[in-house]
Each structure stands twice: as structure tokens, then as C-alpha cells.
Symmetry: C2
Subunit: 116 residues, 2 copies
């Protein structure tokens, strides 16, 4: 039972309302630029954290490869990692991905010109 004790993920995921720079946006896009990483993020649709082993079990990839993908997602700011004894709990930083998605929407939004 004590192993199912996720650390209260992502609730303090407060939105940072400053607009994202092109550099920041491209960093996030780089995090998304591999099918395995998209699939990893899909595992977090249920707002539940996962330990790395759970992610590894979902793929036909070596543990070290998954660990590398998790690192890239962390560095892109798309995942949070919390060590808990021998485990690491991961959860998605929804606000970051959402802010990225909204910036992309704005790029497609001609009416954004009204603000210029």
C-alpha cells in the first residue's frame, strides 16, 4: 500500500502568464519531437503520477532509453520529477503544455492581429 502514495502531483501547477519566447517555445517543441515522448505524455492524461518503471513497462525500449526520454521531458519543463525513496514519481506539468498549445493556437489565429 505504501508504494501507491503519489506525491500530490501537479496541483501547484500555477500558470505563469508571461508569454513564451521563441526559444522557450522551441525547447518545449523539442521535448515533444519524438513519438515515444508523446506516448509518455499520453500516459498522464489521467491526472495521476507514475513511477519510471511503469513507463518502462509500456514500451519495448531499454530502461536507459526511457530514462533518457524522461530526462528530455524534464528539461523541456513538461514533466516534474519527485524522488521518493528508490522511486521517482513523474507528473505532467499541464500548465506548461497548455501554455505552449495556446501559443500555437495564437499563431493560427488571424484575429490575434486585432491586438497588434
Amino acid at each position: 500500500m505504501s508504494d501507491t502514495h503519489p506525491p500530490m502531483c501537479g496541483m501547484a501547477d500555477h500558470p505563469e502568464p508571461e508569454p513564451l519566447s521563441e526559444e522557450r517555445l522551441s525547447e518545449i517543441a523539442k521535448g515533444l519531437a519524438h513519438p515515444a515522448r508523446i506516448r509518455i505524455l499520453e500516459q498522464f492524461i489521467e491526472c495521476q503520477p507514475h513511477i519510471a518503471q511503469e513507463i518502462v513497462d509500456e514500451f519495448d525500449l531499454a530502461q536507459s532509453t526511457i530514462s533518457e526520454h524522461l530526462r528530455l521531458l524534464r528539461e523541456a519543463g513538461l514533466l516534474n520529477a519527485t524522488r521518493d525513496g528508490p522511486r521517482t514519481w513523474y507528473c505532467m506539468r499541464r500548465a506548461v503544455l497548455r501554455q505552449f498549445a495556446e501559443a500555437m493556437i495564437e499563431l493560427t489565429d488571424t484575429s490575434a492581429l486585432a491586438d497588434v
Copy 2:
């Protein structure tokens, strides 16, 4: 005057409603994974096509480098290219970027679980 004769860009940009695969999503993300390419797309916020030279003039990068970025954006499906004599008109495929953005929104949307 005849040089300002953009080829009726992107109006036939009909949405393709099939959900995007992880492979497709990561291809699009790869197209977005460089600050110069984000900035290139920003030039298309006004729904107007541009020739490659206009893009080159906006950057401190060699023409061949910009041409390469335009190629990657084309291959990611984010830009359309239309040759017109010596020029190439580029315009943004808004529906593609929007569909990508909406897929990212869904990843952040816990209520998407209701559909499962």
C-alpha cells in the same frame, strides 16, 4: 506590381478531422523545434504569403540556412510552397498547426477522460 501577386494562399486549408498519430504529432513538433522556425511562422500571422527572400531579409542567417528551415517546415506540413516563376510563395497551413495545438490541449485536458 506583378510581383505582389500572391497565389491565393491557404484558403483551401480544409481541416482533416482524423486524429493525429504520435508519429505525426512528433513530426510537427520537430518542425517547431527551432526558434528560427517559430519566428518564421510568426511572419505568417497576417494571413499573407511570403517569398523566401522576404524571410531571409528578416534574419541574420545565410540564405541556404533559411532555405533549409523552410524545407523542414514544408516537410513537417506546416508550410505550403508554390513556385511562381523565379520565386516561391510560402504560406502557413493553419489547419495543421491548429490540429496539432488542439491535440496538445487534449493532452492537458483531464475531462478528455469522459470520452474514454
